[in-house]
């Protein structure tokens, strides 16, 4: 089980180095075992250096940079061991337009192997969907599902889904 863990760890590490560069358009990231002598209970350290910046602690990263680093890690684990479906609830809330687009491009790479259920307010992310479900509370306090066509989404989406009154 030691070999199994190490093999999976190395795979995730390689993915993380690659996917971080892809999401940030450069820079460098890595993961290390804090105690390599004791593989089965060692902690895991994460390094992330956005392009053009010095290496600093994770806490100094900005809100958007932290989200992008976390997504790179998530998809790295996902790539090493794809799970049949994945739920993401407003993971793009802190991202600007540019980063939202990079996230969407990365997401598209995983669509062939897994199903995704995504909740988002970002129009760009909505436009990635194969199926778009609207949830509304036209009857106050009671959630109902309504079908929404994407071309109606955007400004009209809010109108379609707004509680009445």
């Amino acid at each position: 089980s030691r070999e199994l863990f190490l093999a999976s760890f190395e795979k995730i590490r390689k993915n993380f180095q690659e996917l971080f560069r892809k999401l940030f358009g450069g820079g460098k990231a890595d993961i290390f075992l804090t105690d390599p002598q004791d593989v089965l209970s060692s902690g895991i350290e994460i390094y992330a250096r956005p392009p053009g910046k010095e290496l600093r602690s994770l806490t100094l990263l900005s809100g958007g940079e932290k989200t992008m680093t976390a997504l790179a890690m998530l998809f790295s684990i996902f790539k090493s061991r794809p799970s049949p479906f994945c739920l993401l609830d407003e993971v793009d809330a802190a991202l600007d337009e540019n980063n939202n687009e990079r996230f969407n491009r990365l997401l598209a790479e995983f669509v062939p192997t897994s199903q995704f259920l995504i909740i988002s307010h970002a129009k760009r992310t909505m436009s990635m969907a194969n199926v778009l479900y609207g949830v509304t509370m036209q009857e106050p306090g009671v959630s109902k599902r309504i079908s929404v066509r994407f071309e109606d989404a955007g400004k009209k989406l809010d109108e379609q889904l707004e509680p009445v009154g």
Binding site: A70, F85, F116, Y133
Partner: protein, 172 residues
Amino acid sequence: MKLKKLILAGFKSFADRTEFDFDDGISCVVGPNGCGKSNIVDAVKWVMGEQSAKSLRGSEMMDVIFSGSSTRKPSGMAEVTLVFDNSSGFLQPEIDGEKPDGTTISVTRRLYRNSQSDYLINKTPCRLKDVREMFMDTGLGRDAYSMIEQGRVSAFLQASDDERRAIFDEAA
């Protein structure tokens, strides 16, 4: 394995029976603040065996049963069903040593106001243990790296060494 359907009835703000059909690719759920989107994520976690009311944003498990609105009375029960196409044989459910037949697998969880709770696989009553074991090692378990709740995306970076470790172990 593919996710085919999610059915909620009396679960949180979904007072009436509501179905979501899933295809390949991305299904996106949209709607105004407070309309019930994150409750859908809670429903999936709950039917897969989540035992902590706090991780479903409540203080006790009863909080998942529809508790009324200005026009409706509270429900007596919450029920969520997940339906999978298991023709790939990815899931290996077992109830008392028996394997249910067919390529479709459904998992149901119910909770009644009197605290009674049921689990069913393909409409056959089973225990939480059977549901948990079926999802073990699929990446869909409780330490899942495949379910990110609202506001928790960066939490993974700030997680303690042990939590991070649990996620890496699940993936190994």
